[in-house]
């Protein structure tokens, strides 16, 4: 390796080209001294020991979980929000490959990558929540609890992870220059997309259906037979809003990768996504109102929990739906992007309400759950590792641009 670097016409080795972005090890190391990486390193310096502590000392000392509150933010935030917000891969996949919306084709790879990593890291976070994490394959290989909604979630999330991997594979094979393998996987994309739609519909709604077994613990304003539908619809909203945010961020951060960068095209597509978000949000809002009427829970609205419910449903569903519609009608792209963030916060709020805030509402305050600092640190650490992984891949694989040596994928 030294010999090659010494020569004047520097020809990178395979490792240097694929892993170190065409730099030598020293250059690559130096290029990583950035403020962003300093923050990430700081988080990992605290987070990795916390993860070790959790694994060595168990859930008791590292969490505030109790017999009354068996689930905390590792389920309520990491799992429920992570999966809902990673729905972009499925939403964009459906739009591009099934409905043939060619304009959105360039979003497919980033959306699939975001989705894949979102699921992967949600599962990794979940692992730390499991008392016996080393038994995580048990529902697949040891004992089938087919009557459990969680059984469905486990299988479908695992299978869907595979589907998204298949959809992402063409980018990997292009990076590694494996033409034959790439061809096979490009052909498999349609099947993976259709299978992924079924799996997504079911496990997104199943994550809500988990709460169907707890009518006596979840506040009536959040408990309903419609939970599956609510979770599915809001996951579509989450996927769309995250795609708006993710495409904005990627096109800013990795703009040097895109040769024929066309901000106007991105703006046009963002408006389209904004419209879809708005329409789905309106539908979701009406579905929530129907649920309220169906359960005849109006009288709960004039209680503290009712006000909180209204904050979620008016402030983070109805108002964003109206603002997004206004922004799309008047071509305010920046407004669409800003309010997409509000929508995402609304989805997070909804999931946390279901799993933590409106859960066990009958208990006295002293028996309620508040996350331990280690739970928060572990969550932040997992997200940080997820972002670092995302960046690592974006810097190496043709996600935002078409690889020059390959025919672009047909959509």
């Amino acid at each position: 390796m030294d010999a090659t670097t010494a020569t004047t016409d520097f020809k990178p080795t395979w490792v240097q080209e694929k892993l170190f972005l065409g730099m030598t090890w020293k250059e690559y190391l130096r290029s990583n001294y950035t403020p962003f990486n300093a923050v990430a390193a700081f988080i990992l310096a605290i987070g990795i020991p916390v993860i070790m502590y959790r694994l060595l000392y168990g859930l008791g000392p590292s969490t505030n979980l109790s017999d009354n509150n068996p689930w905390g933010i590792w389920i309520g935030f990491d799992m429920l929000c992570g999966v809902a917000l990673a729905a972009g891969g499925f939403v964009i996949g459906t739009a591009v490959h099934l409905f043939g919306m060619k304009d959105y084709g360039f979003l497919f790879r980033p959306a699939v990558l975001t989705g894949f990593l979102g699921y992967l890291f949600a599962i990794i976070a979940l692992t730390f929540d499991l008392g016996r994490y080393y038994r995580i394959p048990y529902p697949m290989v040891v004992s089938w609890g087919v009557n459990s909604v969680l059984f469905l979630v486990a299988w479908h999330v695992a299978l869907y992870l595979g589907c998204q991997f298949v959809e992402w594979c063409p980018a990997i094979w292009e990076w590694l220059n494996l033409k034959k393998l790439r061809k096979i996987f490009v052909q498999a994309t349609l099947a993976a997309t259709i299978f992924g739609v079924c799996l997504s519909m079911l496990h997104q709604s199943a994550l809500g259906s988990i709460f169907l077994l707890m009518p006596e613990k979840l506040h009536p304003l959040w408990y309903s037979e419609y939970i599956p539908l609510w979770f599915f619809m809001s996951a579509i909203v989450g996927g769309l809003a995250m795609t708006i945010i993710e495409s904005m961020a990627s096109h800013r951060i990795f703009t040097h990768q895109i040769k024929n960068s066309d901000p106007e095209h991105l703006d046009r597509v963002t408006l389209g996504l904004g419209k879809a978000t708005s329409v789905t949000l309106f539908a979701y809002f009406f579905m929530k109102v129907i649920g309220l009427a169906h359960g005849n829970n109006w009288h709960y609205l004039d209680t503290p929990y009712g006000y909180w419910y209204l904050v979620e449903i008016i402030g983070f569903v109805l108002i964003p739906a109206m603002v997004l519609m206004y922004a799309v009608q008047n071509n305010h792209v920046r407004m669409v992007r800003g309010w997409a963030i509000v929508v995402v916060i609304g989805i997070i709020l909804n999931r946390v309400n279901h799993s933590i805030i409106a859960f066990n509402w009958h208990l006295s305050w002293e028996d309620r759950y508040v996350p331990h600092w280690m739970e928060i640190v572990l969550t932040v650490t997992i997200i940080t590792i997820g972002i670092l992984t995302f960046r690592w891949i974006m810097n190496r694989m043709p996600i935002l641009y078409d690889h020059p040596d390959f025919e672009p994928e047909k959509h």
Binding site: L55, Y57, G58, L59, G60, P61, T63, L65, S66, D67, N68, P70, W71, T94, H97, L98, G100, D129, L130, G131, R132, Y133, R135, I136, Y138, P139, V142, S143, W144, G145, N147, S148, V149, L150, F151, L152, A154, L190, T193, I194, F195, V197, C198, M201, L202, S205, A206, S209, L212, L213, M214, P215, E216, K217, E225, Y226, P228, L229, F232, H294
Partner: protein, 314 residues
């Protein structure tokens, strides 16, 4: 009727109308209220008007199940401070006796023993994705730690908040709960440890059907002594453990808002959607896809024709 209408409605919505057309098998007949349960299962009738709060049952339970923090029997009887706050089951305690004010006679507080109710159709069993819980024909709901992954869904799904977890066990934590002394009651003439030690016969062990009769007979024969309700007879579809009380049950720590629908029934309509989705959605998706293909092809042909025309005109 109302309930089944709702479910059909949900299915129509979630399955885009296809579900009902396909006729989901088993969804109507699987309703818990139609299931007879194990006819010969055992139960225990707890008469809370009899209990003296000696907590010997707690001692016997720990002794038999070899739980941690065991103390001498005398200390259980002496310790009155423990009643100041209502306790719940935990990793080292499968059963607890709590004390409640008696509004009818302030000098005679009411003591209530609590443990797993051993539901006809247990929520814990339907929540478990590795089938670690089993409702046994003798009535006991047992737990198999060798399968448990530790997701703790069972704890969230139990309407009585009975299962607890060994949070301080780092590598092999287990869910803990009363197992109705499954090995004892499986033997001829065996009774649970708590029932065996009770000095005042607060608890009666026997066939559940007999206990229901006994409970109603007690209510009939002792006018004014009990409220006219046998807790557990129909709560969440019925439980093996049954309770009698002199005051309304919500005054002695029981939830009276649980309803009579078994917990597993609540997720069945959703689970019945799984196979239809896998049939209907790929079909729909392929349909949409072929439309798209056809449209693209027509577009291409049109462009070709236009180009040819241009050439010709030149």
């Amino acid at each position: 009727m109302m309930d089944s209408d709702r479910r059909t409605f949900l299915k129509i919505l979630a399955g885009a109308g296809i579900t009902t057309a396909l006729g989901v098998p088993g969804s109507a007949s699987a309703d818990g209220d139609l299931l007879p349960g194990y006819p010969d299962q055992f139960g225990v009738l707890v008469d809370t008007t009899v209990c003296i709060g000696c907590r010997r049952c707690e001692w016997a339970c720990k002794e038999w199940n070899k739980l941690r923090d065991q103390k001498a029997l005398k200390e259980y009887e002496k310790d009155q401070a423990v009643f100041q706050k209502a306790r719940r089951t935990n990793a080292d305690t499968f059963t607890v006796v709590n004390r409640f004010n008696n509004p009818r006679d302030q000098t005679k507080p009411i003591y209530v023993k609590k443990q797993c109710m051993h539901c006809y159709e247990p929520g814990c069993a339907s929540s478990c994705f590795v089938k670690a819980f089993t409702k046994r024909p003798v009535g006991a709901v047992t737990y198999d730690a060798s399968l448990c992954v530790g997701c703790r869904y069972c704890m969230a799904a139990c309407p009585f908040d009975m299962p607890a977890y060994q949070y301080d066990n780092a590598f092999t934590p287990e869910v803990t709960k009363c197992n109705f002394c499954f090995d004892r009651i499986s033997k001829e003439g065996g009774v649970p440890a708590c029932v065996g030690i009770c000095p005042v016969e607060t608890m009666t062990f026997g066939k559940r059907t007999d206990l229901i009769d006994l409970a109603h007979k007690k209510i009939r024969d002792n006018r004014g002594r009990y409220v006219n309700h046998v807790y557990g007879e129909s709560e969440v579809g019925g439980t093996s453990w049954l309770y009698l009380s002199s005051v309304p049950f919500n005054m002695i720590g029981f939830r009276t808002d649980l309803g009579t629908v078994p917990i597993p029934t609540l997720s069945k309509p959703f689970l019945s959607l799984v196979s239809p989705v896998f049939i209907a959605i790929p079909a729909l998706a392929m349909g949409v896809y072929s439309f798209k293909k056809r449209r693209d092809k027509l577009e291409e042909e049109e462009i070709k024709k236009a180009l040819e025309k241009k050439k010709e005109s030149k």
